[in-house]
């Protein structure tokens, strides 16, 4: 028992640089990295999500309908499917293959934008109507009202949900390993193929993921308390 724990720890220790620097951070011989995928995904996904969230609330039907269909479609399909779609469609559209990073990033941005769009929509709806009326009364245009009055307040209300969604996205990046992107999960698979010690290796990366997501969720809870209900 003690022996097997010690040898398990030894396996982790010997492979720690590969798992953490290559797999988690993304520096090394392979294109990879959980963080290197997660951070641009959330930023770009949020930017697209803002447009979709606003589109969902647009008074014009021809904007509202596509935005609603977008959200309903991507929330009804597994992320793995979206990744495979991108994997096959991007080479057909661009007429050339792109690296796994680009495929995974596109899939995550498109997929997460549907969920982030709903957060943006809820955030905008949480801003009292009187704010919009007051902005209109002082002579701001629709776009100006959105840009200077509604969005800044909505953003503040959205922060806890955004952190929660980032946690989801952070966990979802493990799916990029399916198309061969060298993230933490793929790095663990590579190490396991060499060492054949699945129990300690997968338990170790579970703990790494847990430390990151749990501290983020504590932070979200702290923000929720500090900001309080709007």
């Amino acid at each position: 028992m003690m022996e097997s724990i010690a040898s398990g720890l030894d396996v982790i220790w010997r492979n720690l640089p590969f798992l953490m620097i290559q797999g988690f951070l993304g520096f090394g011989n392979f294109v990879g990295g959980t963080l290197r995928l997660a951070i641009p995904s959330i930023v770009l996904g949020f930017l697209l999500g803002i447009f979709i969230g606003i589109g969902r609330l647009a008074p014009q039907r021809w904007i509202r309908l596509p935005a609603t269909l977008y959200v309903e479609f991507f929330r009804g399909v597994p992320l793995v499917m979206v990744i495979f779609w991108m994997w096959f469609i991007i080479p057909i559209v661009l007429k050339t293959a792109i690296p796994e990073f680009g495929v995974a990033l596109t899939a995550f941005v498109i997929f997460e934008a549907a969920y982030l769009g709903e957060i943006v929509r809820a955030g905008i709806q949480s801003v009292p109507r009187g704010q919009v009326e007051a902005a209109t009364a002082v002579g701001l245009s629709g776009v100006q009202t959105m840009r200077h009055v509604v969005l800044p307040q909505a953003l503040k209300n959205m922060i806890p949900s955004l952190v929660t969604q980032f946690i989801v996205l952070f966990k979802d990046t493990s799916l990029a390993s399916i198309i061969g992107f060298m993230d933490l999960t793929k790095a663990a698979q590579v190490v396991n193929n060499r060492e054949i010690r699945p129990f300690p290796i997968y338990l170790f990366i579970a703990v790494v993921y847990w430390v990151c997501t749990y501290s983020m969720s504590r932070y979200a809870r702290y923000l929720e308390k500090r900001i309080g209900p709007a």
Binding site: G76, F88, K171, Y202
Partner: protein
């Protein structure tokens, strides 16, 4: 690269059979994992609201650890990591009886159970404290109070978030393809491999998932209306 469509690959050869068997495996996997998840979710969700500290701590550990690690890691953990520790006899039996399927059920069920647990806990906490006090005052034990007063109300309150978690479970079952369970996404890939018609195959798989999700959501919104507690749930059959 010029792509020529050939939709007939979906109804010629074995594609139809593959999709159907993939759909059945997806439904079997999801149903079994759902039962496990609901059982774990109800027990741990209820335990997180009791006064006795050690029980609460165990439930909290389960929820926080399993919910915060990617499902894919749990798939690999249960499929590759755990079986070597099982006794020889059980392992032999499992290898002969679809180890990957049962590992998938366990991974999906235990992971989703932690998520259901949070849904149930917030449902229980939304019930006024006086209900519990009244139940105890009228002579019920804590267990009886949960069994006859708190849980029946909580389970009806949580139908909308519970539905959305159940749909997540259904969509997440697609990850079982990584441990080679022949579910819907796996079969979609198989059609692609055999016919080299990616768009057609993916369209078929995507449509099946969409129909499943939208269908289930509509059924559940009907159930929600039927089981609504008068005066308590005012949303009245809103989808998701």
């Amino acid at each position: 690269m010029k792509y020529t469509f050939n939709w007939s690959v979906l109804w010629t050869g074995e594609s139809g059979q593959w999709l159907l068997s993939g759909l059945i495996v997806t439904l079997e996997l999801s149903a079994l994992a759902w039962l496990l998840a609901v059982a774990l979710g109800v027990v741990s969700g209820a335990l997180r609201t009791v006064k006795f500290r050690p029980l609460r701590a165990v439930a909290t550990f389960y929820v926080e650890f399993f919910r915060n690690v990617p499902l894919l890691v749990w798939m690999f953990f249960w499929y590759f990591g755990v079986p070597p520790f099982l006794p020889e006899v059980i392992r032999e039996w499992m290898f002969g009886h679809g180890l990957e399927f049962w590992a998938g059920v366990l991974a999906l069920g235990v992971y989703s159970g932690a998520r259901f647990s949070e849904v149930l806990r917030s449902g229980i906490q939304s019930i006024p404290r006086t209900q519990m006090e009244a139940a105890v005052a009228s002579g019920l034990t804590t267990f009886q109070a949960y069994r006859y007063v708190i849980l029946p109300v909580a389970l009806r309150i949580i139908i909308p978030p519970g539905t959305s978690e159940s749909l997540n479970l259904l969509k997440n079952s697609s990850l079982a393809l990584t441990i080679s369970v022949a579910e819907l996404t796996f079969q979609t890939r198989q059609i692609e491999t055999y016919t080299a018609k990616a768009i057609e195959a993916l369209t078929a798989g995507t449509l099946i998932y969409l129909v499943l999700c939208i269908g289930l959501a509509s059924i559940m919104s009907w159930v929600e209306r039927r089981t609504a507690i008068p005066g308590l749930i005012t949303s009245g059959g809103r989808r998701r």
